[in-house]
């Protein structure tokens, strides 16, 4: 196929965007390790400073550097998000493959369960799960992982249904291979790209919801510098005009989420180019 100049440029631009987003995230992650905890020490001299070159995001009412706090908080959110996303992806894969391979009864049951889980408002369900898990980081991780698998499970199910009756699987069956062997050797490799992209696209949602949960006060203790906690603490200080406590942490959160979204979206388009003209 002859590639026209514009098509070429679009691809190049996508790759650039991909590299840029990844580098940005990497930089933030590195910074969160480099910045020392010294900056979080309480200091009476440096209280409530507006943003300056020395304190990029200003300081809070205890004199802690907000830039350091925000980056460390984001790192925690990313760690929780990554773990919860992996758990969700595993649940989604198992549910999706089971629904597609083990017959009509299992399929109906799984789709019923999916409808059941979709029926409760997302956030409400997370509140319920983190509440019954007794709060803490365990509650957050459980709450988030158990509520994000549904749409990916549907995708996996339809992917598997597509190839279930293909020739190479029928041949494999006629050679007497077990369903377990077929699931592992034929089906899993086929759905793996979908799962990876599903993971990347799920990640931003998971971080958003984790931030929302901690913002409401479910889970982590106020000492932990999670992004939601930073924002909910800052909430009580906005009436005195300390806008930077809210503004910068939130902007950075949006940037991080958007970067992940970019990466997932660009990879998806690179893998299935037919959808790129949407």
């Amino acid at each position: 196929m002859i590639m026209t100049r514009t098509e070429h440029n679009v691809r190049k631009k996508m790759l650039q965007l991909l590299v840029f987003s990844s580098l940005l995230l990497l930089l933030l992650l590195l910074l969160s390790f480099i910045l020392s905890d010294e900056n979080l020490r309480l200091s009476s001299a440096g209280k409530n400073l507006p943003p300056s070159l020395e304190h990029l995001f200003g300081t809070d009412w205890l004199g802690r550097d907000m830039f350091t706090r925000t980056l460390k908080g984001l790192r925690l959110s990313l760690a929780v998000g990554a773990f919860a996303s992996i758990m969700s992806v595993i649940v989604a894969t198992v549910m999706g493959i089971c629904a597609a391979t083990f017959g009509k009864v299992v399929d109906n049951t799984v789709s019923w369960v999916i409808d059941l889980f979709i029926g409760m408002p997302h956030l409400v369900f997370m509140i319920l799960i983190s509440f019954i898990a007794g709060g803490g980081i365990k509650g957050i991780v459980l709450g988030v992982s158990l509520t994000h698998w549904m749409s990916l499970a549907r995708v996996v199910r339809s992917e598997v249904l597509q190839i279930k009756h293909s020739e190479y699987i029928q041949i494999s069956q006629s050679y007497g291979k077990s369903p377990w062997f077929i699931a592992r050797k034929h089906i899993l490799p086929f759905v793996l790209p979908q799962i990876m992209i599903g993971f990347l696209l799920m990640f931003p949602h998971v971080i958003l919801h984790e931030a929302a949960l901690t913002f409401l006060g479910f889970g982590l203790s106020p000492q932990t510098p999670a992004i939601g906690i930073i924002l909910s603490e800052a909430m009580s200080h906005i009436s005195t005009g300390k806008w930077w406590l809210v503004f910068f942490p939130g902007v950075l959160l949006v940037v991080v989420i958007k970067s992940f979204d970019n990466i997932g979206e660009q990879l998806r388009i690179l893998m299935e180019p037919s959808s790129s003209n949407k």
């Binding site: 029926g119 408002p121 956030l123 799960i129 958003l208 913002f215 924002l231 009436s239 809210v246």
Partner: protein, 322 residues
């Protein structure tokens, strides 16, 4: 058609029963079990008192019996008594529900209208600057936490410009009966605006995609060949084919809407169902928590059900399969 709807209704009924069982068993296995949260750190409670409490709550029966007595009470509209407010849960929900539904209803209509408009505009100007702006705006909104957006609006409009009050549904220190409608409206604007701004994104992106598909179809090319202008094409083909899917999407959006209102109500300390849910969860008020969870789920099921029906009506191809 009627049969299909009945089958769907039956499915919704089984889902609701499943949901009540799920909620009940989740609470049952949790360490936050009623007695613990009720007694809390009060170590002076004697074992006899705890035993009495267990009897009072009916905890000495088997879980299945407990479920049935609980579900039976639910069906009669008895959601139990809130531990926090010492009043029946049903009364609390009734008094808060109107506040929340006013908020969500306004946001639902506004975001639906503007979302559809932006999406359609974007598709009609595909590739132009307007399209790029709308696309960028929607994609950024999808990545924005609603509570942060609320805080920013609060900073700009309440703290800096002082146009709107900082929180609550009415001025502090004024009796409920004396609150003017204008006061209520004044306190209502920012939370409603927050919810509406965010809701625009998904409907705009969806409408844009749908509209682009329509504009690329052969009948639109033929319409262009007949000399219809942009407005006629939109009016005769684009609008008719995209409005019902958009409405059905908006009904399926009920769950996100409720979640958003939980966060928005928290930011603006707006006394609706959402902020009550948060308080109930944080303070361990189980009857109230379960009551609001069930009511909000009923709300979402209704939305999904309507969306389902609309989809069936719109697309005859779906009618074949259930």
């Amino acid at each position: 058609m009627v049969k299909k709807i009945l089958i769907r209704l039956l499915r919704v009924a089984t889902l609701l029963i499943g949901l009540s069982i799920l909620t009940f068993s989740l609470i049952h296995i949790s360490p936050m079990y009623p007695i613990n949260t009720y007694v809390g750190g009060d170590s002076s409670t004697s074992p006899e008192q705890i035993e009495k409490l267990r009897e009072y709550w009916g905890l000495n029966k088997s879980p299945v019996e407990q479920y049935f007595s609980w579900a039976g009470a639910l069906l009669q509209g008895n959601f139990g008594v809130s531990k926090l407010y010492r009043t029946p849960v049903m009364d609390i929900i009734k008094s808060r529900a109107m506040m929340s539904f006013a908020l969500m209803g306004t946001a639902w209509i506004l975001s639906g209208f503007f979302g559809y408009l932006l999406g359609a505009l974007s598709a009609l100007h595909r590739g132009k600057t307007l399209d790029k702006i709308i696309k960028w705006y929607s994609f950024t909104l999808v990545s924005t936490p609603i509570f942060w957006l609320g805080l920013i609006l609060l900073i700009v409009f309440s703290v800096q410009l002082q146009w709107f009050p900082v929180g609550l549904a009415a001025p502090a220190g004024v009796l409920d009966s004396e609150v003017q409608f204008s006061d209520r409206l004044h306190h209502f604007v920012l939370p409603a605006l927050t919810l509406s701004i965010l809701g625009v994104a998904s409907i705009a992106l969806h409408t844009r995609e749908k509209m682009i598909d329509i504009l690329n179809s052969e009948y639109v090319i033929f319409a262009k060949a007949r000399g219809e202008n942009k407005w006629q094409i939109f009016k005769n083909h684009g609008f008719r084919n995209s409005i019902l899917p958009a409405i059905s999407l908006q009904f399926a959006y009920f769950g996100e809407l409720f979640g958003g209102s939980v966060l928005a109500e928290q930011v603006f300390s707006y006394p609706g169902l959402g902020s009550t849910l948060t308080t109930a969860g944080l303070k361990g008020d189980l009857p109230l928590l379960m009551g609001i969870i069930l009511v909000s789920s009923l709300f979402v099921f209704t939305g999904n059900f309507i969306a389902d029906i609309l989809n069936t009506v719109v697309d005859p191809r779906i009618k074949g399969e259930v």
